[in-house]
Symmetry: C2
Subunit: 341 residues, 2 copies
Amino acid sequence: MAGIKDVADRAGLSIATVSRALSGKANVSAKSRKLAKTAAAELGFVPSYHASSLASGRNHNVGLVLPSVHRWYFSSVLEGVSATLLDAGYDLTLYNVGDQAVRRESVLNDFLLRKRLDAVIAVALVLTDDEIQQLLAIHRPIVGIGGALAGASTIRINDSGLSRMATNHLIQLGHTRIAHLTGDPALNQDFKLPGIRQAGFEAAMKDAGLSIRPEWQISADFTIQGAYASARRLLGMGTERPTAVFAASDEMAIGTILAARDFGLRVPHDLSVIGMDGHELGEVFGLTTINQDARGQGALAARLLLETLDAGTPAGNDGAATDREYPTELVIRTSTAVPPA
Amino acid sequence: MAGIKDVADRAGLSIATVSRALSGKANVSAKSRKLAKTAAAELGFVPSYHASSLASGRNHNVGLVLPSVHRWYFSSVLEGVSATLLDAGYDLTLYNVGDQAVRRESVLNDFLLRKRLDAVIAVALVLTDDEIQQLLAIHRPIVGIGGALAGASTIRINDSGLSRMATNHLIQLGHTRIAHLTGDPALNQDFKLPGIRQAGFEAAMKDAGLSIRPEWQISADFTIQGAYASARRLLGMGTERPTAVFAASDEMAIGTILAARDFGLRVPHDLSVIGMDGHELGEVFGLTTINQDARGQGALAARLLLETLDAGTPAGNDGAATDREYPTELVIRTSTAVPPA
DNA sequence: ACCATGACTGCAAGCGTTTCCACAGGTCAG
DNA sequence: CTGACCTGTGGAAACGCTTGCAGTCATGGT
């Protein structure tokens, strides 16, 4: 293992100059820089991150905390964050904490706080005030995506308003018997999102003077297969059926469409389905949905952090904790139409 | 930020003793240990990872290199690796290099080699001999999953044999007009898998004396939507149709089933479809497939590395580079049957 | 001809741990 | 009673860089 010392010797320069040359700092003559670079290349020298982090205080490493890596939204965010960080020369440390709160705590205590991360991105994770304070106390900027993080910057979509919009789309088509497929209660603990979307749905229904039937408020785990099972239960209930379903995610909307097909229901003729996300698979099913660019949200979060870090806001100046709304769009495809006569 | 020095002062011990006490080393009296621990807790002390890594040479950090995070196989592996590492107190650094080889190189040079990783897991990535040698030269164990890594340990399934098995399943049912849906040529660069699976298919066909029609050898990008489009093309060709399709992944098999439904073809009555993976969604479609436990493969890879690291095989003793085959099982559901009369 | 200026460079002091080593007491067999 | 040993402990040397500081040497204005 060649160290910087070896490079210095080989190049006939001092350690200090080599360090400056290789890290692209100013005040190094072109000649020295070239000398250092060739020597480093010849020796296959790569600086030790630990040593340089220790000495400089910057780690070039951002932590990403996710509840899942399988669900579309999260893997999309991950993709956006990852690409942005890689291009910027930053490492991405992933904490896939799962839905269980158990692991969460240990992640926070044992990992996040160990000053090895320059910043943290938390997705759909409601951190307690204490937890946020701990992180900010260490002078680590935090950005939350899709979750409300008091005191930290946040990127999110207007979940409540968009749910209203989706519901209104169905109402305007003339539907009155509308079901809502939301997230499982268990998912509502950390990730308050299901509740918020559900509230938007209820508000829109109330505003339109429509009644909400409890038996048409069903839940699933945000996966296609989970929603498929729930939707089969909904559609097979034997009593009157809804003419439209608003699913809290595209994956769940797709599960609903698959269930409808199994029952011989034509979408949208017999059943309208609207989702929310912008899943790539939506096109195959002609799914009407609200497009939120999850990948873009991840990329934006990463960019924001990098700017903060590069701006050198060296310590704790968390800047103004901005709360920005990410743009979305209603994409009308062929899964929604007027209700059957 | 409290340092170990502060803890030592508060506990009335020396830095050395505190360090030993907190990291659970021997030769510390019970009293001193308790003293150190309470002092550390009171000060909210957390050791600096960089400093301790620098001093001890162990980073407690494993790198995972993936070509994608969206496709089922990869996110499943990721999940397995992540859970195992988190439980062991290790960090996971994720390199989502994408399908483009461009980013790959930079990841290798700029990231992997910076001695900040204790080990590397590479999924479906064919590293060149040089690249492997570089890593091994740094004394970092590597485990490859699903890809042939000369010189490194590997976990994989018998892709060629399993493809044969899948194809034979169709042949034994009486099918003779069998199509194969493989990965896009672009994906075959790094990730030779499509070619290997295709070879298995061809071998089985040849052994059975069946002819392989070039126009029934189609490809897609391993996603449902991509396979859906390709399968529509296949099924809509107007000429004679295949009676069965072997798709190189479950996601592609599902895309095929969706396309078949669009054409009014009943699965399995009019068209048998077999996949390969064990995707959770397979159940919804009654998909016959070969179950490979991707999550388990990831977990196993992580466990193997942890053992190697903990065994203290301190440097370069790469152990015997084992190449182990992960167990799989043929899961027969309802997407395959005898061909139409 | 002289000094201020600025571009380069090297020395050495950290960065915050881990760990080698020496050393102080106490235990125990001979 | 003594030397061999073991358990705990603290001092201090790494670990491999970054960076403040001071010093060297041309340069150019006056």
